[in-house]
């Protein structure tokens, strides 16, 4: 953690990124997203806008055709997922991505695949078990035998095993009950308070923007508007277009 260089302005920075899948048309067309330390940046936008693609580029799953990616001030544009993890990045995919035919214990253990220190692994295992009791309760069960929401919690636990600096969460609340959703958001806030940068994608946009510090509205592979989350929430035009109606808090005249 201790470094002599001045702390960079952004923990994660994607600049003028152009990216696409294979030979198909570009999905991201010159997109810039910046995540300062100790902050939650929320991406909102319609289906197919390219939100998941932003996260895939950030975690090295998809190499951008142009533009740059910096983590902690270091250029990591061409790095694959393995190097990205070493730079302190953790990505929880949209949908379900537990290893279904493996136990919860094995799933969480694989979260620390790149960690060699046994004591550290034990410490973090205890931490995620306390954070998500279901992980401790179903420790020896096959992950595929858990309910969807429980599986999601196993995924969070798995992603925290590297104690990341930057966390990418793709629709974390999907399929979670209100109580667990609150818990996940609470955890996101707690990570932010601990200095971690969070890049969050949510369909539950209003809820997410209420939690986030900065909001980015994405459409057709570009950031249309970015600004403090509270301002985006208050903007009636934005609310109409992307948040499914006017904000309830703003009285209509």
């Amino acid at each position: 953690m201790a470094s002599d260089a001045p702390a960079p302005e952004y923990l994660l920075e994607l600049k003028d990124v152009e990216a696409g899948y294979g030979r198909a048309a570009l999905v991201l067309r010159g997109l810039t997203v910046q995540v300062p330390p100790s902050s939650i940046v929320c991406l909102v936008g319609p289906n197919g806008a390219g939100k998941s693609t932003v996260l895939k580029v950030a975690s090295g799953m998809l190499t951008p055709r142009s533009g740059s990616i910096r983590v902690n001030g270091v250029d990591v544009t061409r790095n694959g997922p393995q190097d990205m993890i070493r730079s302190g990045l953790s990505h929880v995919l949209q949908g379900h991505s537990v290893f279904k035919e493996m136990t919860v214990a094995e799933n969480v253990g694989l979260g620390a695949y790149t960690v060699r220190d046994k004591a550290l692994i034990a410490e973090r295992t205890d931490f995620v078990k306390t954070l998500f009791p279901v992980v401790a309760d179903r420790w020896t069960a096959l992950a595929g035998a858990l309910s969807g929401g429980q599986q999601k919690q196993v995924e969070f636990a798995r992603s925290l095993m590297v104690s990341p600096q930057v966390v990418l969460l793709d629709e974390p609340s999907m399929g979670l009950d209100p109580k667990t959703t609150s818990k996940v958001f609470e955890q996101v806030v707690r990570m932010r308070d601990a200095g971690i940068a969070v890049l969050l994608v949510e369909q539950n946009a209003r809820r997410a923007l209420e939690t986030a510090d900065i909001g980015c509205v994405l459409d057709l592979g570009k950031v249309h508007i970015t600004g403090p989350a509270s301002e985006l929430l208050a903007d009636p035009q934005l609310a109409e277009l992307y948040l499914g109606g006017r904000p309830a808090a703003v009285p209509t005249t």
Partner: protein, 294 residues
């Protein structure tokens, strides 16, 4: 069928089933790792058998010793084959194209064997080739027991590798969710290559076991690939325990049917079981969720 003949058939079937199980495990591993249908698996099996025979003829040493060379060699060949050939196929048509590619590899191996060793039938002659043991009153050739022991040890080793090691965990993770595995820092490309190497190593062990008590010839592999394919489908594609159970059951069935029907007709048990499986339970009997996702 007399009691002792019945017993003898069951035991022979189990011994044969062990070899089937090992080979099917390799075949199902390729499919699990990268949805590849590896037609050349049994060609490598026969290649290993030839190498064991040739090793014994040239050195006079026990053919089992050839394993020291063939197992690492096949592992490397499998790794290279996956990295240089199969990994280059387009994902969208991978399964289909892999059939064509590995079919070509099988023909190449068969051709090379014929060219180098000629089409003559070969058989290893050992001091203990003729000896047999009495097991519950049934007479069982020692070489068959050795072959089974070899297969059993290899399968057990494979199981331990998959279940207990870091590499095995990474391999299973890669099979179950490649994208998530990559995001955890697993080098899935390399792991897939190793998985392929491991599959081919089972062919090396199986081939040596086979060479102990079979007459071999270059085109023998066609005789094996059908039953093996049937076994992995019945066991549930990608499921190693499923393949092992199906292999044992079918090995015994084949052996029992051999007495009244003869060798050729007894083989049809694989295809009948295959048709029945595809009608009743197309995802296979033991694959469960894993198989359904393929």
């Amino acid at each position: 069928m007399s009691g002792s003949l019945l017993l003898q058939s069951v035991i022979l079937g189990l011994l044969l089933g062990g070899l089937y199980a090992l080979l099917a495990a390799g075949l199902t591993l390729y499919f699990g790792v990268m949805r590849v249908v590896m037609i050349a698996h049994s060609a490598f099996l026969i290649l290993a058998a030839y190498l064991a025979w040739w090793f014994q003829r040239e050195t006079g040493l026990d053919p089992l010793l050839s394993l020291v060379v063939t197992v690492p060699l096949f592992f490397v060949v499998g790794f290279v084959m996956q990295r240089l050939l199969l990994a280059r196929l387009r994902p969208a048509t991978l399964t289909m194209m892999s059939v064509l590619l590995t079919f070509a590899i099988a023909l190449t191996i068969e051709g090379l064997l014929g060219y180098v060793f000629s089409g003559t039938q070969r058989r290893i002659q050992l001091d203990y080739s003729g000896s047999s043991l009495e097991v519950f009153g049934a007479n069982i050739a020692v070489v068959k027991l050795i072959a089974f022991g070899l297969a059993a040890v290899a399968l057990l080793g494979l199981w331990a590798l998959m279940k207990l090691t870091r590499f095995g965990q990474a391999l299973r993770a890669t099979i179950q969710h490649p994208e998530a595995a990559r995001l955890l820092g697993i080098n899935t490309d390399r792991i897939a290559g190793f998985g392929f190497g491991l599959g081919l190593a089972t062919a090396a062990i199986g081939g040596t076991a086979l060479s102990l008590d079979s007459t071999i010839y270059p085109s023998l592999h066609w005789h094996w690939i059908g039953p093996l394919m049937a076994i992995i489908v019945i066991g549930g594609l990608g499921s190693i325990p499923g393949a092992a159970i199906a292999a044992m059951l079918l090995g015994v069935s084949q052996s029992l049917l051999q007495v009244p029907l003869g060798t050729t007709w007894a083989q049809t048990v694989f295809y009948i079981a295959l048709f029945a499986t595809l009608m009743v339970r197309p995802q296979g009997f033991f694959g469960g969720r894993l198989a359904q996702r393929f």
